[in-house]
Amino acid sequence: MLRISTDPIDTSHELRQFEKLADRAGGIVTFSGQVRPHASKGAVTTLFLQAYSPLTESGIESAIAEARTKWALDQVLVLHRTGEMSPGDTIVFVATASKHRRAAFEAADFLMDYLKTAAVFWKKEKTETGAYWIEPRDEDYKDAARWAEKEPV
């Protein structure tokens, strides 16, 4: 399941709902990402995230479908916030459920790599010194490349 919205993400609530959905799956992995308080250009006051529907959604749906072919997953959830956010706000919440904890870990990791590098979002950090559009970091590309080199276990 995928939801992109400007509404705040309540990870605690989402985990509870996901557990109900993934009833007795065995293992659940979640990742939640928060807006960082510091950027290379100083303290962040706000983060603005822009999506382009339905391109952003279809890209993420493809990544979810790919994860489902690579790993045996009972349930997958991707929540992504857009619009204006403050440091500490949750930007993204990914949850995976599987009988095998390795599958749940790797699928969540894979989805996060997609979301952080290839997902159709543009983001602008507002800091004390100005506002900057952020391009992908090299580290992110390296993370995503891992999945091309290695077969899932």
Partner: protein
């Protein structure tokens, strides 16, 4: 009238994130539209940058794609992830 979208840093260059436009009949392709808009906004090549991709009606496309049947044309700088 066609809807043109400018994403990410391009909206800073154009001063808007979207607009409704009558594209001149002589501007037939996505590539020609890049050049026409770049001149129009005095964008110094920001719209010509090959890393800026064009989507027509939510499909990433090439510069050779015709634009006059399009409803929505989007200019997309490299995506930064979430």
């Amino acid at each position: 009238m066609q809807k043109i979208l400018y994403f990410g840093r391009l909206s800073d260059v154009t001063g808007k994130s979207e607009e409704l436009l009558d594209i001149p009949v002589t501007v037939e392709t996505a590539g020609a539209l890049r050049e026409w808009l770049d001149t129009r906004f005095d964008a110094s090549g920001a719209l010509l940058d090959p890393t800026v991709r064009i989507a027509i009606d939510s499909e990433i496309t090439f510069d050779s794609a015709p634009v006059h049947d399009a409803t929505e044309i989007a200019f997309m700088p490299p995506v930064g992830g979430g």
